[in-house]
Symmetry: C2
Subunit: 194 residues, 2 copies
Amino acid sequence: MAKETTKLRILSEGARIVYEKGYNNTGIQEILAAAEVPKGSFYFYFKSKEDFGLQLIDFYLDFSVSALTAHMSASDRDPIGRLRRFFLSMQDASEQKNFKGGCPIGNLTQEMADLKDTFRIKLNQAFARMSNLIADCLDQARDLNQIAAALNPHETADFILNSWEGALLRMKAQCSVQPLVVFDRMVFEGLLKP
Amino acid sequence: MAKETTKLRILSEGARIVYEKGYNNTGIQEILAAAEVPKGSFYFYFKSKEDFGLQLIDFYLDFSVSALTAHMSASDRDPIGRLRRFFLSMQDASEQKNFKGGCPIGNLTQEMADLKDTFRIKLNQAFARMSNLIADCLDQARDLNQIAAALNPHETADFILNSWEGALLRMKAQCSVQPLVVFDRMVFEGLLKP
């Protein structure tokens, strides 16, 4: 197996298990068994479980960044429509998971941010990355007079991202799409209306 | 020690430890040691660890409900101002905890909602209770023409509560008050402005 394939397989199986059980409840043995690689392989690619956990944050982030940039690269002149479609695609994905799981980066934040500063800093960077992409979109919308000029793109992007995280948390309690529908309506038919 | 005092002491010490370490990582022995009561006492008051966990949700909820209703019972004609002061008082409380910990009910949701339906249902009821109190406040504000008539009080209350939960999550990643300040500004100077 090529090196990159092995590493990716460890990350991908690890991502699945950590998403289900949490970081602290996941053992390296379990990941290796699922990825079908010997123990030595793990320490060839990762210095420690912590190093693996930190790389896992990038792995999760790449999914969200790819999905968001894919939606953003549409060539229409409707940046807000693109952003809305991104969140609706995430809503579909949540529905397919029966409203379980939520956001892997949000979950790791809840579990690890207070416990390990290395994780907190990396998770903070991940949120900032997503928020900046949303802010870029709001900047474009403002240039096209599609949102109120009074809205600060960076603050608004932070608020939208945080509200989405909260909607995903409430979704887990409610086991229903309702919090995501309310998010969509309040943000795109209220907050962002010029 | 009176019965109710013993039970309350177990809940109060348990609440503190679970808030720090999570429900699954907290052992009954540890709670009993902190509360300084013998093991028999625990099973006198709680059928099981799960029964304790479910009663803990009520214990946490009582704090939030008391704080919210205390703010709401002010006799001025400014329901939105009262709601804003409630969230600002929660912001102060977060600052005193150095932006760690977050919302105990949000934390339990993240940890337990997908794992045990008994917890999920109880957590869902807790969120609904808080949301209904916020909706009552928005209803009063609407009667006084202090918010846009187009806002649905129940949906808006859900959105505000969920966005607050998300702001607390982001606060843990950022280790700063900024997400709570953004929440305050976007909700009270944007969303709820008539």
